[in-house]
Symmetry: C3
Subunit: 352 residues, 3 copies
C-alpha cells in the first residue's frame, strides 16, 4: 500500500491518555504504541477505536483494536482484555488522537512535493510573493497578485490580476481565483471557481442584457471550500464568506451573498443571489435558498430543503417549500395516513 | 482596495439623464460625477442608486447616494436634498448606467493581462488562429482547432481537435472543449466542460455496455455558460444550445438535449438526455428534467421542480413531480391545513 | 462539418445482419454500405435506424433511412421500399452497430493527438510510467506515481504523489487525482476531482475542528466517472467504487462511502459520508443519500429522491423522504384529489 501520509506520528496509550484527558482502565499497557485510528470492526492492534452508540456493542465485543475510547457506561461492557480509556466524549478524543497522529493531513500539501517555486509555473513579474510560498508546476499567477508566506499554490491553479491570498493557505490544483481577497489559513480544494461573474441579466424579448458584475469575493480567515464549488463575485455588494465557515463540494454561492461565521454547508447546496446567512448556520446537502432570503444565526436546514422565505434564528427547517421540522414531519405522516386510508374513506376516488 | 476594474468610466448626472432618458428633478446638479452604482443603504456621494419597491423607502429617507433613479410615485417621497432622476423603469436605467461605467466587466478579460499568444501556451501547428486572438499561459489548443478574431482563451483552457470557436468569445480558465462548434460572442466561465461523452450505457447483468457518443455540441451566438457547468455531446443527435441562452454554474446538460433561444437556466439545474426545451424558457435553481421531456416556449419552472412529463408553452410549473403553480400552492395549503387539523379530525391517528 | 471521429468504419447490411443476428427481410440489398446510426426522422440513405415503440410509427412511414432494425410486429408495418432487419431487440442491435462503426468513441483519445509524452508535461523523475502511456501537454505527474500501459493522461490532468493508475485508462483533461488507487480500463472525464479531503469537522462554538482525512479512494476496474464529479477520500475507511460502476457528471461522493459493482448513478446525485450502496443499484438524477444509509443490491432510486434510511434490495423508491414508488404515487394522487375537492369539503378553509 502506498504511504500517502509517510510522516505520521506514533503515540503511546499513556500519551493518548494525557492528550485526551481520558482515564485508563486498570491494567492498560500505557507503553503500547498506536499508529492509526479505525472503526471497531476493522481495527488492528496498532489502532485505537471508540464507541459512543449502543448500536455497535457487538463490534466492541469482537474488536481486535489496540485500545478503545469509551464512556463510563460502555466501559463496563467492554471485554476484559481490551485496553480501555474512559472519557465523557469518546468521539472528540478519537479525533484528537487522529489529529495528533496525522498532522500533515490537516492541510493539503504540494502534489509534486515542490519546495519553493517549481519549474514551469508562470508567475507574472509584478506579482508579490512572500518568502515561504510553494508554487507547484503549471500554476499561473497574474499581475499584481499577492501571496502570503506559508501558502501553497497547487498545480494548475490560476490566480487573476490583483488577487490577494493570505498566509498559510492551500489553493488546490486547478482552482481559479479572480476578483477576490482571501484571508489566512484558507483551504480551497481542487477545481473550485472563485470570483467569476454572477448570473445577472435584464430579461427582454430581444435577448437578455448582461448586468455588470464588478464587485469582489471576500473570503475570511480559516474558511474551507470544497472541490468544484463555485462562488461568484458581487454586482452591487461583495460576496462574503465569514470566518471559519466550511463549505463542501459542488456548492453554488451566487453574487452578493453574505454568509456569516462558522457555518457548515454540505455538498451540492445552492445559495441564490443576495441571500443573507447568519453565523453558525448548518445546511444539509442539496439545500436551495431563493434569492434575497435571510437565514438567522444558528438555524439548521435539512437536506434538500427549498427555502423561499426567512428562517428565524435557531430554528430547524426542512422540506420544499421549507417549514419547521415538526410541521414537515406532521405533513408527511398525515399524507401517508390519508393515502393508506384512501380506499375506505373515498370508495369512488379516482386515484390509480 | 485592489482596483479590479481600473479602466472604468465616469458619467455626469446630465450624461446619465441623456443615457437613460430619465427626467432630472428641478435643482439636480447635472455636472455631478458618478463613478459607481450602489444600493441605497451603502451608496456614497459618487454613487447612483435606485428604488422601485416601497419596502426600501426607509433607506431612501436616509441615503447618502449622489443621485437616485425613481418612479414618479417614489420621487414625491424622496428627501429634498437628494438629486432625483425620474423614470418609469428605475432598475433598467440603473443597469444601463452600470454598463456604461464598467464596459470592461461585460466580457471576461485575460487573467494574465496577456496580449497575443503567451509564452507557455501549447498551440498545435495545425490550429488556425485568426489575428486578434489572445491566448493565456498554459492554454492547450489541439490539432485543427479554429479560433476567431477577438476571442480570449484563458489560462489552462484545453480545446480538442477540430473544435471551432467564433469571434469575440471568452473561454475561461481551465475550461475543456471537445467535439464542439461554438458561435460568436459566447462566454464560457472557468471549469465548464463542453463536449465530453454523454452518459449512455446498455445495462446488462454482465455489466453495462458503453453506447457510442459520437455527435457534437453546437453552441450558438451570444450564449453564456457558468462555471463548472457540464454539457455532454450527443449520441444520436447533436446537443444544441440556442442563441442568447444564458446558463448558470454547475448545470448539467445531457446528450442529445436541444435548448432553444434566449432561455435562462439557473444554477445546479439538470437536464436529462434528449429533452427538448423551447425558446425563452426560464428555470429556477436545482430544477430537474427527466429524459425526453418537452418544455414549451415561454414556460417557467420554479426552483427544485422535477419535471417528469410535458410542460405546455407559457405555463408556470413547480414541485416534484412538477405541476401548475396554482395546483402546487393549493396542495401545499391543503396538506398544511390537514396536518394542523389532524388531532381534531382524527383523534385515533397514528402520527407522532 | 469537422470530422471528430475520422477513423470510423463502414458496414454492409449483410455484415450488420451477421453482427446482430437480425434477419434481413426478403429483398434487402445486403451489399448496401452503412456509415452511421440515426433516429428515423433524420436518417439518410447511409444511416441505419431502429424502432421499438409504436409512438414513432409515423416516422417509420416517412423515413429515408438506408435500413431499419425492427421487431417482427413492426416489420409488418414498414414501408415496402425500406430495407428491414428483423430482431427481437432492435435497440440492442442498433447499439451494436454503433459500437462497430465508431470503435474510437468507446474510450476518450488525446485532445492533442499526442503520441508518447508531450513536450511541456511535468513528470516527476520518481514516477513509474509503463511503455505505451500517452501523456498530453501540461499534465503533471507527481513523485512515485505509477501509470499502466495503454493509459492516456490528458492535458492539464494532475496526479499526486504515489497515485497508482492501471492499464488502458483515460484520465481526462484537468482531472485531479490524489491519495487514490485506480484499476484498469477506468475512464475519468474532464474536471473530475478524486481523492481530496472529505468534509469532516467536529463542530464547536469556538469554530469547527478539521477531522483528518487520511485514507484513500479505491476505484475498481471498468468504472466510468463523469465530468466535474467529486469523490472524496476516506477518513476512517477507504472510499470504494466497485467494478463496472458508471457515474455521471457533477455527482458528489463523500468520504468512507462504499459503492458496489455495476451501479448506474445519474447526474448531480449526492451520496453522503459512510453510505453503503450494494451492487447493480440504479439512481436517477439529483438523488440525495443521507450519511450512513444502506441501499440494498438491485434497488432503484427515482430522480430527486431523498433517502434518509435503509432501502431494501430490489425495491424501487422515490420522493423526499423516499418511500416505495407505489406509496409515493398514492400520496401524490391523494393530495391532488384532496386539493381539488377542497372547496366542497371545507368551505371555511383558509387556503388562498
Amino acid at each position: 500500500m502506498p504511504d500517502f501520509f509517510p510522516t505520521h506520528c506514533e503515540l503511546t496509550l499513556g500519551e493518548i491518555a494525557t492528550l485526551t484527558q481520558a482515564e485508563p482502565r486498570p491494567g492498560v499497557p500505557l507503553e503500547r504504541r498506536i499508529i492509526d485510528i479505525a472503526p471497531l470492526d476493522v481495527a488492528r492492534g496498532s489502532d485505537i477505536a471508540f464507541l459512543d452508540n449502543a448500536k455497535y456493542l457487538d463490534a466492541l465485543a469482537r474488536t481486535h483494536a489496540g485500545a478503545c475510547l469509551l464512556t463510563p457506561r460502555f466501559a463496563a461492557m467492554a471485554p476484559a482484555g481490551l485496553p480501555v480509556l474512559v472519557t465523557a466524549e469518546p468521539y472528540r478524543a478519537f479525533i484528537a488522537v487522529a489529529r495528533a497522529l496525522f498532522p500533515s493531513s490537516l492541510r493539503p500539501s504540494s502534489l509534486f512535493r515542490t519546495t519553493g517555486r517549481a519549474t514551469g509555473a508562470q508567475v507574472h513579474p509584478s506579482a508579490r510573493i512572500e518568502a515561504g510560498v510553494t508554487i507547484d508546476p503549471l500554476a499561473v499567477i497574474g499581475p499584481g497578485a499577492e501571496i502570503g508566506g506559508g501558502t501553497l499554490i497547487a498545480a494548475g491553479a490560476v490566480l487573476g490580476p490583483n488577487v490577494a491570498i493570505g498566509r498559510d493557505c492551500a489553493i488546490g490544483a486547478g482552482v481559479t481565483v479572480q476578483h477576490s481577497l482571501i484571508g489566512d489559513r484558507v483551504i480551497i480544494h481542487p477545481g473550485a471557481r472563485i470570483g467569476q461573474d454572477g448570473f445577472g441579466f435584464l430579461p427582454s424579448p430581444q435577448g437578455h442584457q448582461k448586468i455588470p458584475q464588478h464587485r469582489r469575493v471576500i473570503i475570511q480567515d480559516d474558511v474551507e471550500i470544497g472541490a468544484n464549488t463555485t462562488i461568484d463575485r458581487g454586482s452591487t455588494r461583495d460576496t462574503v464568506i465569514g470566518e471559519g465557515t466550511k463549505i463542501d463540494n459542488l456548492v453554488q454561492i451566487a453574487h452578493n451573498v453574505s454568509i456569516g461565521r462558522h457555518c457548515l454547508i454540505a455538498g451540492q447546496t445552492g445559495i441564490s443571489g443576495s441571500a443573507q446567512v447568519g453565523d453558525f448556520v448548518m445546511m444539509g446537502g442539496q439545500v436551495g435558498l431563493a434569492d434575497h432570503v435571510t437565514i438567522g444565526s444558528g438555524a439548521m436546514l435539512g437536506a434538500q430543503s427549498g427555502v423561499m422565505s426567512e428562517v428565524p434564528a435557531r430554528e430547524r427547517y426542512i422540506g420544499s417549500p421549507a417549514e419547521p421540522v415538526r410541521d414537515f414531519m406532521k405533513g408527511v405522516a398525515t399524507l401517508r395516513r390519508l393515502a393508506r386510508g384512501q380506499k375506505k374513506a373515498d370508495p369512488n376516488g379516482d386515484t390509480q
